[in-house]
């Protein structure tokens, strides 16, 4: 797709509005982690990923695995931008029979590559996709987004170790380092220390960026593509709830919808 930075920024803003709309519409969902991730999602889908909305199951597509599957409004909003989902699909969020299930689900939603919802599982799945691509001799790639709180799951580190062991260089992990998890700030729940250092110590190539600076986002994606001999990790520093003043850096909006007054304010701020 290869959009320019200003176009990507406009796209991300439209996505932010749809994220808040979806969550407000059903009165439930996870706006905070969707808003922190959306600039990177826009960078991936607007600048890099080889996907085709006319053929969502195309076998040689790049894979995007949203391991923090609760950030589904973020995924649905960008899939809408890329033509996978209609406005009506977005309006089906969390509703009976809707393609936009509460957590991203490959059986319900075109363009979703992995049924997530239980944290810690996406990296392993991405490793499987990448190993298969290598066996096929294909240049397709896998991109996995993890939350920072998600790194507390032991399975993540099983995957981190095995990706290096198998020298999987068609795989990139993006850590959404927004510093907040369900109950509170990560630092109060389980201290994280230096996330980049952890990945680097396992043998990953690591790059840190500001996850809300679209130029840095695009540069990091291009950098990850160039990493050879092993996997790449982008640790992106983000703000949970980014773009909506009262949600920013506020643990209350990990998994809560705005009320009517808050919704109106959010729409003003994102206009």
């Amino acid at each position: 797709m290869g959009l320019e930075i200003p176009e990507l920024e406009s796209m991300a803003k439209r996505c932010r509005r749809n994220i808040v709309r979806m969550v407000y519409g059903i009165g439930a969902g996870h706006p905070g982690g969707s808003l922190s991730a959306i600039d990177m999602l826009t960078g991936l889908y607007g600048h890099r990923l080889r996907v085709d909305s006319d053929n969502p199951k195309w076998s040689d597509r790049d894979r995007f695995i949203m391991s923090k599957g609760h950030a589904s409004p973020g995924v649905y909003s960008i899939l809408h931008e890329r033509g996978f989902l209609t406005e009506d699909d977005l309006a089906s969020f969390r509703k009976l029979g809707g393609s936009c299930q509460g957590h991203v689900d490959m059986k319900w939603c075109p363009g979703v590559d992995f049924s997530a919802g239980s944290l810690g599982m996406g990296l392993s799945f991405g490793i499987g996709c990448s190993l298969a691509a290598k066996l096929d001799g294909s240049d397709r790639t896998s991109w996995v987004m993890l939350g920072d709180g998600e790194l507390q799951e032991g399975q993540v580190w099983e995957g981190v170790m095995s990706a290096v062991h198998h020298e999987i260089d068609n795989l990139t992990v993006i850590v959404d380092r927004n510093g907040i998890q369900n109950d509170d700030f990560c630092e109060t729940q389980m201290r994280m220390f230096d996330v980049s250092e952890k990945f680097a110590s396992f043998g990953w190539a690591v790059m840190e960026i500001d996850g809300h600076d679209m130029a840095q986002v695009v540069d990091a994606i291009d950098w990850a593509d160039q990493v050879k001999g092993g996997p790449a990790c982008i640790v992106m520093h983000t703000v949970k709830g980014k773009g909506v003043s009262y949600m920013e850096n506020n643990p209350k909006f990990h998994g809560a919808a705005p009320n009517e007054e808050q919704f109106i304010l959010a729409m003003e701020e994102l206009s």
Binding site: S118, S124, G126, G128, C129, A132, M161, S162
Partner: protein, 315 residues
């Protein structure tokens, strides 16, 4: 398959079947450090390019397999039955829920595993995997049938769990009879009208011995190898209930939720008759020889024969 005189362990049949699939470049084998035990090592030695070592990390293995499956491959992943349970939620949420075709093999199942003790003796695996929608659950009784059923999985369109056993038992199948095996269809080894014994795994051999004992008392028993726990062959169970009027299940597994549980559920819904369940009676195992443990836990042929008498007496 050439037959060692001492019979065959079902895990050997799994390894032999993988070797039969060497020519199929869509088949991949995943291991979690126990390939020498589950017998996937045989495949690895011949085709390392299609074998993925994941180390001692079962949760990761489950979903690496799922990722490969959605990319067009047919993964056969194995570890000990007990260690598959560590990845149960991965199987539940990442394999069964999206109905991704991954074939999981848990070897060394049941108390028959023996001297390793209770930590290694999975007696609940069949029960837990049976609860998952989309899953097929298998437990073959010897190497010949395990080979046939593993080969049948190659073109099976659902995820599966197959439990194999560590130790050899006398064979219940020949190469010819194993050709008749079909996933989801119980295999009738012996026909009698007084009682039906429905067994799986290493208990099939005990059930056949029990039928011999009963015959000496003038009781004719049907013996079924119910190698597929899910989907259960409910037509066969119902037919046996109608014809024999008394049933016994025999499994190297807890009597809760496994073969006995599945047959009980079927009878209650379709044709209630007396049922006795031979298996592990809601306790854990311990170290010991396979036969010693079967004896201690009242799971030998004579216990099955006694249970048959009890079931008949309740009609």
């Amino acid at each position: 398959m050439s037959a060692p005189s001492g019979g065959g362990a079902s895990r050997d049949g799994y390894g032999a079947a993988l070797l039969e699939m060497l020519d199929d470049d869509k088949v991949v084998v995943l291991e979690a450090d126990l390939g020498k035990s589950t017998k996937s090592c045989l495949f690895r030695a011949e085709k390392p390019s299609h074998t993925v070592s994941l180390g001692i990390a079962e949760q990761n293995m489950m979903l690496v397999a799922a990722g490969m499956s959605t990319s067009g491959y047919v993964p056969f992943a194995s570890t000990f039955a007990i260690f598959t349970e560590r990845g149960f939620e991965q199987v539940r949420n990442g394999i069964a829920r999206p109905n991704i075709v991954v074939h999981l093999c848990g070897s060394h199942g049941g108390i028959h595993t023996g001297t390793d003790g209770s930590s290694a003796q999975s007696i609940e695996d069949l029960a837990i995997y049976r609860t998952l929608p989309n899953m097929t659950v298998l437990h073959p009784c010897d190497d010949v049938s395990a080979k046939a059923l593993t080969l049948a999985l190659r073109n099976h369109d659902r995820p599966s769990y197959m439990r194999t056993a560590r130790n050899k038992v006398p064979r219940s199948y020949s190469d010819e009879s194993s050709n008749e095996l079909k996933i989801g269809k119980g295999y009738v080894h012996r026909t009698g009208d007084d009682v039906a014994i429905i067994a799986c795994g290493v208990m099939v051999n005990e059930a056949l011995e029990a039928a011999e004992m009963l015959a000496k008392s003038g009781i004719q028993a049907t013996v079924v190898d119910m190698h597929t726990i899910k989907p259960l062959d409910t037509n066969l169970v119902t037919e046996l209930a109608k014809r024999c009027g008394a049933l016994v299940t025999a499994e190297d597994h807890s009597i809760i939720g496994g073969l006995g549980g599945a047959v009980a559920e079927c009878l209650v819904s379709h044709y209630p008759v007396p049922l006795e369940r031979i298996g592990v009676q809601d306790r854990f195992g311990e170290s010991g020889g396979s036969d010693e443990l079967l004896e201690m836990l009242n799971m030998k042929a004579k216990n099955i024969a006694d249970a048959a008498q009890r079931a008949i007496s309740r009609t």
